[in-house]
Amino acid sequence: MVFFLLPLAIVLAYSFLQQDIGGGIIWQFTLENYQRLSRGLYLGIIWRSLWLGFLSTAACLLIGYPLAFWIIKQPKRWRNALVLLVIIPFWTNFLVRTYAWIVLLRREGVINILLASVQIIDKPLDLLFTPLAIAIGLIYGYLPFMILPIYSTLERFDFSLVEAAHDLGANDLKTFWRVVFPLTLRGIIAGCLLVFIPSVAAFITPDILGGAKTIMVGNLIQNQFLKSLNWPFGSALSMMLIGMILVPVTAYFWFVDDYLRTTSTKGGRS
């Protein structure tokens, strides 16, 4: 714990200090590092991180929820095997999984070759080093994080409620929105947080699939620490990143979780 909290406190302290030429630190209080965050260049990068985070979370939800739903509908003996199939990529190295997309996306990669061979394109597309490539990498990397919590809430969901809703005249769509969706909302929110947090703070994915032009906050922090050697500004960036993550997490635990806990037990009983 000492190795976790103390370093974090030092980073917090650094974020209020001044930079010395050559990577040193001047022990003088300043808010300059935080003011610098509002410059256009940095705002652009922060904005990109946020929307890529939202985009990949939304995409994971749109793919993950139906998949979890499909798995739960399969015969019992297949279900565990299917869940395992979802987990296996999570156990394999993240770097390796990200690299797999270089093989697919680069100019002389598999996708371009395939498209060229069926003559859809006549010159290779620049797929790698784009925000799209980052988004794909993030979705690919964190999809299991979305599926597993949703699956575990669906596992506890009482499907006789669906039959009851049908008997009362609701169609599939209405049953889903009024019964299934609200009762699995906790899993959905947990999944969204688990995807959003590492996506916003991503470092490897934009570094490998995004190139030098499309960087995210994570790369900016790395630049400040290892290249520009502006540790106070890097610290301020990290603090802002933590803030960006703590806001949704604490909001969830303080407001939504309690509310859902009470409503879902009520819903289960009625």
Partner: protein
């Protein structure tokens, strides 16, 4: 009356069709999602055997890229050295480093994580609930902030040490190990604590009533019951450590290149099928770990 009956029939018909389309769509989504998860890995593996420098057209089967990994040179004799871009060392050294770091950090974090879990669940002391919240922080915290905060911390400590005692230390394998313990500890604690919360306290009380002291109860009753959770915690710590790139990236120094750092160096240097080869080997190793853990889980479930 007739009209409304007919419209009801129509609505039912419509719902039925919608239901069928929904089923089809679920099925198609599942097929596409699994294809999305596995095709990139499959293609990666296939091209590791391709007898061509560029991952493009299939030019026949070869083991050359695997051989080149061991030799540390380009298997097809096309010149460049692989994977040594500013990193130094060979694959085998990197593998050794990875196993050493994973081994030590797993042992330490498993022991301390278990003790912490027991203290939190069974002990009564001030600030227990604060620690319970804090223990989740390293899990939620993005790895990049953990990496840079450890970097800042180690640098500051080394500077202090140098001015006070004159001993000069640099980042290296020890700092990597400490970094890995820092994030593994929380995972072990959370897993063991979850199991501990499910345990029937009556078992421990019974042991105490029968005259066992606290240590005997811990050794004889609690720990054997916790064993599966401790094992899965250790396994997770081991995997996380082998897998970690970001924290290692910031706290590693010269000579402490782990396998992921080595692979990163290769990717940054130039994309060759040798990376596919090392990726395939790492995939196989992690599959092996998954299968081993499943086998042991089913064994402990049946016994």
């Amino acid at each position: 009356m007739r009209l409304s009956f007919r419209s009801l029939r129509l609505r039912q018909q419509f719902d039925l069709w919608m239901g069928r389309i929904g089923q089809q769509w679920l099925y198609i989504n599942a097929v596409l999602a699994f294809a999305f998860l596995y095709l990139p890995i499959a293609i990666l593996i296939v091209y590791s055997f391709n007898n061509s420098r560029y991952n493009v057209v299939w030019r026949g089967f070869t083991w050359g890229w695997y051989e080149s990994l061991l030799k540390g040179s380009d298997g097809l004799g096309l010149g460049t050295q692989i994977g040594t871009a500013g990193m130094g060392g060979s694959v085998l050294t990197a593998l050794q480093n990875s196993l050493l770091v994973a081994g030590i950090s797993t042992v330490v974090s498993t022991i301390f994580g278990t003790l912490l879990a027991i203290a939190m669940e069974r002990g009564h002391f001030r600030g227990r609930s604060a620690i319970a919240t804090l223990i989740y922080l390293p899990i939620v915290m993005p790895d990049i902030t953990m990496g840079i905060s450890l970097l800042v911390f180690f640098t500051l400590c080394f500077k202090l040490l140098e001015t006070v005692t004159g001993i000069y230390l640099t980042l290296g394998i020890t700092t990597v190990i400490i970094g890995h313990i820092t994030f593994s500890l929380s995972f072990v604690t959370v897993i063991v604590r979850a199991r501990l919360a499910d345990l029937d306290p009556a078992l421990e009380e019974a042991a105490m009533d029968l005259g066992a002291n606290e240590w005997q109860t811990l050794w004889g009753v609690t720990l054997p019951l916790l064993w599966p959770a401790i094992f899965s915690g250790a396994l997770l710590a081991f995997t996380l450590s082998l897998d970690d790139f970001v924290v290692t990236f910031f706290v590693a120094g010269v000579g402490s290149t782990t396998l992921p750092l080595f692979v990163y160096g290769m990717i940054k240097f130039s994309v060759t099928p040798a990376i596919n080869a090392i990726s395939t080997l790492m995939l196989l190793a992690s599959m092996g770990l998954v299968i081993a853990s499943l086998a042991s889980a089913s064994q402990s479930a049946s016994s």
